[in-house]
Amino acid sequence: MPDQVTLTIDDVKVTVPAGTLVVDAAKAAGIDIPVFCSHPKLDPLGACRMCLVEFVGSRGSRLDTACTVRVAEGMAVRTNTEQVKAVREANLGFILINHPLDCPICDKGGECPLQDQTMAYGPGVSQFVEPKRHKNKRYPISDLILLDQERCILCWRCIRYLEEWEDKPQLGLFERGGETMIDTFPGQPVDAKTSGSIIDICPVGALTNRVARFRYRPWELKKTPSVCNHCPVGCNLRLDERVHALRRIVARENMAVNDEWICDKGRFVHQFVDHPERLKKPLVRDAQRGTLREATWDEALDRVVEKLGALVEANGPNTVGGIASPRVSNEAAYLFQKFFRALVGTNNVDFAGGSAVRAWPTGLSAITDIARSDLIVLVGFDPSEAAPLLAVHIKRVVLRKGAKLLIIHPRRIELAKYPGAYLPVLPGNEAALLGELAAAVQASKGVRGQEARGKQAARNPQSPGPGPQYPDVVALLAAAKSPLFIYGPDVARGERGRATVAALLNLATALGQGDKLAYIGAGANEQGVRDMGLLPDTLPGYAPVSDAAVRERLGKLWGLQPPAEAGQTCARMIGGGVKGLFVMGDNLAALPAVAEALRKLDFLVVQDLFLTETAQLADVVLPACSFAEADGTYTNLERRVQRGPQGIRAVGESKADWAILTALAEKWLAAEGRGDRSGVAPAAAPELPDWKRKKRKAKTGPAAKPWNYPTAQSVLEEIGKAVPFYATMRWEALGEGGLQWSARDLRVGVRDSGLSNTQSPTSNPRPGEFLLVSSPLFWDASLFMQYAADQVRQLIPAPFVALNPADLATAKLAEGSQMTLTSPHGSVILTLKADASVQPGTVWIPATLPGLPAETLGGGRGEPISVVVR
């Protein structure tokens, strides 16, 4: 078969790849063929007959569907004949027989293919006098999507999306003939994590978004291309705003990232942006009454400068520090660490889940590499719950290209049902298991392997006897030509995490695939926040703080050099290492133990959207904007720097993180110029004359340069100077698809590759004890979920613990009963659930459930936690 085929459509000659559908060839020729069921991302079906065109052959012409016929050499197609016009009119007439023509109250009205095509190709008059079919107009197919059965034109797009992309055939056509209806099996609503995609692709207003419906008319919306702020995939989406409210979020195509899908968190969880409880004014703690009261920006920032300054002056800069959220923009993260490094003079900066995790700094080589791989190894990472769009990509390559999955996880995660292998592992034993696998791979390679195995055994003195040989798994690994190795934060924390990552690297290297290792974090901008150096031991661009050359370079840029000794980690700062703390965007105090620790601080500043548990403890609360209200860039898990422009007016007096930090730095510098940070003059006091400031500076030697950032873009420009591989990341250059920085620009020293596994393997739990697994759950109780629309909030599960049914039976425990779980770190009461995906001997309490039960028991610390259930 020739690669290229030339055909004629309405006298236009067009050459397209063989196998192209006529409808796509016509598009290439600039000819519009109306369609309903056909969709560029779905397999051809031919259900609606809208695309009928004439195929001219030697025996005359015949009508056929352009969406199912593939091109052939010399084919002649006509789309503009009288016959084609007549069948289009007739077909639209048929489709409209039972269509309710709700356009004035329909969410789709104004962006509806059925409206558009009826206007363009329809008969213009209705011949239909009989009553229309009446069906349920608000039929819930899930908690998030309502089906209007009258509007549905039975195009099967929704059915096919769930089948072909999600592999969850949950919607079907039921009944027959005039009774045909889209429906779910009773009691089994649609639960695919990207289910909202079917709202976008429905060609009519049959599927409606329960969070957004009736809140807009499409033509009134201001549409801003942005990126998602929920997980590190960084899906491209669009913010639809009207009269200063974020009305809805829809997907935006980016073939390198999310194709044209987003998950249900990205789509439905956005009410936190215009939630009535958003902080609208700064708050300061009233000296007399001890409560928080509203204040002006000047008063609040002066208070921060005064108090932090006093602590620095009295006890030195290392007694204050900052902890940020891995969600914040690159600009915010950069200025945050710069504030502490260049102005305060300390490296005490970290983010929650930052320095504790052994992250591979270059993330995934590329999301599109998933589609090119034949084996994906997932270690302690569950894409379905943590990064749903990755799960969609992975399922696609499994279903369409026969790729295999090797899953190493304490829980039989959803993807474990696909071909490949699932190796259950007790939490903490990942390194040992990976070591055994690497040894087995070496052994299978022959003589050279023998030596390596000896070495491995020596390294692993406590490993219990000769490990199992995993012949199938070794064969799977050996057969892979383009594997990917992905791990997540759950197996990368603490010392065990270091060992696991080292073992994983050994395994990948043993297979000659050392560059295919990828870490995928939890925070939406975790990659960017690391790139910006928001870590106690790492400067912007990953240089260690001990690197004098980089410190000097930064010193030239900032006016002052960062200190040479590493700062305190998040855990140390919380645990009493500092007296003054600045928390940006993270609700650390949701965990009572942390709240207790934060109460002991002399001074706490919190910058956030809401009066969180942490903000309630603060001395000063600074109201920040959400991602939707401020310009900013975000770097996703494949190092793609993407723009998130402002799409809606800032709520109240809230300001962008970077703008708050800039204002704060200006005040700090001004106070420094006056030589008295602690005795800040009232806001109304006149600025000191220039000459006086200069005199001070001259006395105090090198001084920080002024912070001159009128816009987020100007911060990004400076980032380009501070972080070498961001040099080309200018706002305009990023465009709407973002730019990836090249992993080759960062010579990642394989610093730990030889690290031995010094951890003794987790022993099997004793009877009555269970090992805690706290891997994430999609619908959790994270902050944005708590401030989501009611429709979404009801999806937050009541706190539960899941056990293997066999364990429940042995322990004579009943599902649904309330149990007390106790670990060395704490104790919680939870409802018991049976779940076959949970390995015997373990309990699964997902991270971030209401009340943080898993965290209370010590989950997420990187050490195996043994739990007693009573």
Binding site: L21, G172, F174, T184, F185, G187, R400, K401, P419
Partner: protein, 163 residues
């Protein structure tokens, strides 16, 4: 133009990971399942789905398409009166159905309160040569007259045997 390679080869290896030979057993499996409770209970549908590697929705969609599969409970005896063209011309299915309706006190689609007999109108029973026709469970009744109907119903009400 973006062209998704997958759209060009919908049946690539592994597509759907559904076993076509298993899928082909669906109708027979449903038939067997229906014999057990007289109709396809949700549990039966889920069981069939599980055994054939399909989703319950997919099975339900097939089951609801064919009128010979029932997804609602029916009586022990199901009377199917043909409403096809030949029967209509040869005396009228309506007449037959109306007669039975009057006798049993139920309308087509309904079941007697004692749960014994269900009345249905169905498309052609492929017995046009001997129209009008009806079926009681698996037994066909041809060349129907009112007397013949009486006889058949009497046997039913006395608890006589039918297919």
């Amino acid at each position: 133009m973006t062209m998704d390679a997958a759209r060009q080869t919908p049946h690539a290896p592994g597509a759907g990971l559904v076993d076509p030979t298993k899928q082909a057993m669906l109708l027979s499996a449903l038939y067997l399942a229906q014999e057990q409770a007289g109709y396809l209970t949700p549990a039966a549908i889920e069981r069939v789905a599980q055994r054939l590697g399909l989703s319950p929705g997919q099975v339900y969609s097939v089951a609801s398409f064919y009128s010979l599969f029932r997804i609602e409970p029916v009586g022990r005896y199901v009377i199917q009166v043909c409403k096809g063209l030949s029967c209509y011309l040869c005396g009228g299915a309506e007449k037959v159905a109306d007669y039975i309706s009057a006798k049993l006190g139920i309308r087509p689609g309904e079941t007697t309160p004692d749960g014994r007999i269900t009345l249905e109108l169905v498309e052609c029973l492929a017995s046009c040569g001997t129209a009008p026709a009806m079926r009681i469970n698996d037994q066909l009744y041809e060349n129907l007259t009112l007397d013949a109907i009486d006889l058949a119903l009497e046997r039913l009400l006395e608890g006589g045997e039918h297919g």
